[in-house]
Symmetry: C2
C-alpha cells in the first residue's frame, strides 16, 4: 500500500476501476494496458516524472490493477500507488534506450506471466508515450493475443468529475486566480518576460495557504504583439513594450488537477479593433457559458460563441475548448470532449472544460478563457474569479 | 524567414542539415520525417509548446526542409524557424482529436504532394509524440512508399556539440550554479517543499544577467528521506525535516539547452553509511571524469565509477548517465550515448553528458551529479561549479 497519503478515498479509486471495467466490457477486452500518465494516476494514484520511459497500469477483469515500469521507479509506485507489492512489476535497466531490445518486450513477457498471452488486450495507440516502436515490440511479443486499440477508453471514464475531484479543481482555480491577479499587478512595459514568468511560476507553485502548487502540464504561454499571432510560443528575455498586447495562458495545478485561465494585457491605449474584439470575445464567453448547461451539446457552446464573434466580423475556424482536469505534460487537455460546433457530446453535471476561444490573427492575438464546470441546473460555473475583460495598463 | 532572431548562425543550421543528409544516405532514405521536438528545433530553429499535437520537420535530399503542423502553429513556425513560407505546411483543425481522421492522414497527403508517395521515408518510431496510431495512419496513407525506422538518425548527429552549442551549454550551467547555490542557502528544516521549488523555479527562469532561463525538460525532482529511494518523485506541500536527506535534481536551461546538476542536502548529522556513500560517490565522480577522455569509451566512465562504489559495498545496476543538451519535455536526455559499462561509444571532443550516478537505496537516496564536456585533451570538464559533496546543514 502507498507509503504516502493517497489524494483520494479508496471508494473513489473503486469507482474508477468499476467504470474502466465497464468500458473494457463494451470494447470486448480481457485486459487494458494504460500508458497515459494521467490514466495511470487516475486508476492507482501513481505519480512521478517517470513517463519519459515506458510504463503502464494493467487492468484485468478483476482484482487489483498492476503497475509496470522501470526497476528504479518501482519504489515510486510503492510510495504513491495503493497497490500491493506483488502487483508492482518492473523491467531491468538494460532495456533503457538500448539497441535490439525494447521495454515492451518485457511487458509482453509480464502479460504472458499473467496468463494474458491469448487474451484480448487493449492498448492506447493514440496516447502520449506509447510509441510506434513499443507497439511493434508488444505485437511481436504476444503473437497469440488480440491487441485492440483502446485509445480513449479510460479518458472517457474521466469526463465527469466526482465531488472529490471537483474540490481539487476548485483548489487549482484558487491558484490560477492568485497567479493571474499577481500577473496583472506586476506586468509593465520594460519588464523582461522571463523575470515575469519567474514570478508567475513561483506564485503558482507556492499556491494558496495549504493548497500547494504542482507543476502545470503546459508551461506559461505569453507571446506579445505580432508574436501573439502564434498561440504556443513560450517566453524569452525580451521586454514588454508599450503598444503591444500580451496574452497569458497558464493553469494553477493542485495534485495534477488543472484549472487553466487566460487573460490579455495591453500596455498603452489599445486600438479600436482590439477593444471591439475583446468585447465580442467576452460577450461570446458569456453566451457560451449560458449555453453550457446539462442536456445541451458541447457544440452549443461553440455556436453561442461564434454568433457573438461574427457580429464583429471574426470567423474562427478552430475548436474553442476541451475537457480539462487531471493531466501531465505535454497537455492539460483530456482528449475527449471538444468545444466545436460538430461535437455532439451531451453535457453532464461534473464535466469540466477549458472554454478557450483564443484569437490568433495575422499580426496580433488575444486570449480570454475560463475553466467551466457543468452544473445540475442553470449555466456553467466559471471556476476562476478574475475579471473577464481585456486588461489595459496605460 | 524567421521573424524572431535565430539562436544560431545560418552556417550552424547548414552543418546540421548536411550531417542529417549524410545519415539519410547511410540509412538509404529519400526523406526523413523528424517528429521529436528537439530534432525539429535543431534542424530549423522551430520552438513552441505545440508538441502535444502532431507535427514534423521533413528533410528531403536537397533544398530547405519543410515544417508541417497544425494550422494555428504555422505562425509559430513563421516566427521561429528559418523556413520560407512555402516550406511551412499545415493541417486543418478538424483533424485534432477527432474520430475517424488523424493528422497523419494529412501528412501522408502532403508527402505525396512532395512526390514522395513512392519514396523511402524514415520515421522516428521510438520518438516521443510519434504515436502508434499516427504511424498506422501514415502507413495507410502511403501504401506505395517504403517506410523505414529512422529512430536515432538525427539524435546521433546531435551528439558532438558545435562551439555555438557549447556556449549555450555553458550559459545553462551558469543558471544551474545559481539555482543550486540558492537552493543550498535557503533549504532548512520546516520549509515547505513547494515553497522551496517556487524559489528554485523563479531563480532558474530569472537566469543570470542576460542569460534568461528557459523551462527545463524535467521539473525539479527532490524526494526526501525514504521517498528519496524513488528517483522520480517531484514535490508536495510537506516540510523538510531534520534527520533526512533530500536530493535536488534540476537543470538550468538556456534556449532549450540543459546543464543538469544534482546535489544532496542533509539536515542534522548524517549517519555514517550516508557520509561513506557520499565520499565514495564523489570519488567515483572524480574517477569517472578522469576516465572521460576523448578516445576512451563511454563505458570506461561507468567502470571507473563502479570501482569506487564497490569499495563501500554498493552495487549499482543502472546506467549512470547519458548524453544531454537540446531537449523538450519529458526528458533532457538525448537518447544516444549511455554511460554504462556495455556502452562502446568512443568519446569525442564536444560531447556533453549528464554523469549521474544516483544512489536509490531501500529507504534513502543520494544524488551528486555533473554535466561534463569531453575535451580535446585530458579529462572532461565539469560545466557547473558547485562543490562536489554532501551538503550538511546542522
Amino acid at each position: 500500500m502507498a507509503a504516502m497519503e493517497l489524494p483520494f478515498s479508496k471508494s473513489e479509486y473503486d469507482r474508477r476501476l468499476a467504470l474502466t471495467r465497464k468500458g473494457m466490457e463494451a470494447y470486448g477486452l480481457d485486459a487494458l494496458v494504460v500508458t497515459s500518465p494521467a490514466g495511470m494516476n487516475w486508476l492507482t494514484g501513481y505519480d512521478g516524472w517517470s513517463f519519459y520511459v515506458d510504463q503502464a497500469v494493467i487492468v484485468t477483469g478483476d482484482g487489483m490493477p498492476y503497475w509496470w515500469g522501470r526497476l528504479m521507479d518501482a519504489n515510486g509506485a510503492r510510495r504513491t500507488a495503493f497497490l500491493d507489492d506483488d502487483h508492482i512489476l518492473f523491467y531491468a535497466d538494460r532495456y533503457i534506450q538500448a539497441d535490439g531490445i525494447h521495454p515492451m518486450d518485457d511487458l509482453a513477457e509480464k502479460l504472458a506471466g499473467l496468463a494474458l498471452d491469448k487474451a484480448r488486450i487493449g492498448v492506447e495507440m493514440n496516447a502520449y508515450y506509447y510509441s510506434a516502436a513499443g507497439h511493434a515490440a508488444l505485437l511481436k511479443g504476444l503473437p497469440s493475443a488480440t491487441i485492440k486499440d483502446g485509445s480513449g477508453l479510460v479518458d472517457w471514464q474521466r469526463v465527469v468529475k466526482s465531488d472529490e475531484e471537483i474540490s481539487f479543481m476548485r483548489k487549482a482555480a484558487q491558484i490560477s486566480n492568485r497567479v493571474m491577479t499577481h500577473a496583472m499587478e506586476i506586468a509593465e512595459p520594460g519588464m523582461k518576460k522571463n523575470r515575469f514568468v519567474g514570478e508567475l511560476m513561483k506564485t503558482a507553485i507556492t499556491g494558496v495557504d495549504d493548497i500547494w502548487g504542482d507543476y502545470p502540464a503546459i508551461m506559461p504561454l505569453l507571446p506579445s504583439g505580432p508574436d501573439a499571432s502564434a498561440p504556443h510560443l513560450t517566453w524569452s528575455g525580451d521586454e514588454f513594450r508599450t503598444g503591444e498586447a500580451t496574452f497569458i495562458e497558464q493553469a494553477g495545478c493542485y495534485r495534477r488537477y488543472h484549472a487553466p485561465l487566460s487573460r490579455t494585457v495591453f500596455f498603452g491605449k489599445p486600438p479600436q479593433y482590439m477593444t471591439d474584439a475583446a468585447e465580442a470575445l467576452v460577450a461570446g464567453l458569456n453566451a457560451g457559458i449560458e449555453a453550457a448547461r446539462a442536456g445541451n451539446r458541447a457544440g452549443d457552446i461553440a455556436a453561442a460563441l461564434e454568433k457573438e464573434l461574427w457580429k464583429v466580423g471574426i470567423e474562427r475556424p478552430n475548436r474553442c475548448g476541451y475537457a480539462t482536469g487531471l493531466a501531465y505534460p505535454p497537455d492539460w487537455g483530456e482528449h475527449t470532449v471538444s468545444i466545436r460546433t460538430i461535437d455532439e457530446t451531451v453535457l453532464k453535471p461534473g464535466m469540466t472544460l477549458h472554454f478557450m476561444p483564443g484569437l490568433w490573427m495575422d499580426d496580433w492575438g488575444l486570449e480570454i478563457t475560463e475553466t467551466i464546470l457543468i452544473t445540475e441546473n442553470g449555466p456553467a460555473e466559471a471556476l476562476c474569479r478574475v475579471e473577464r475583460k481585456l486588461f489595459v495598463k496605460d
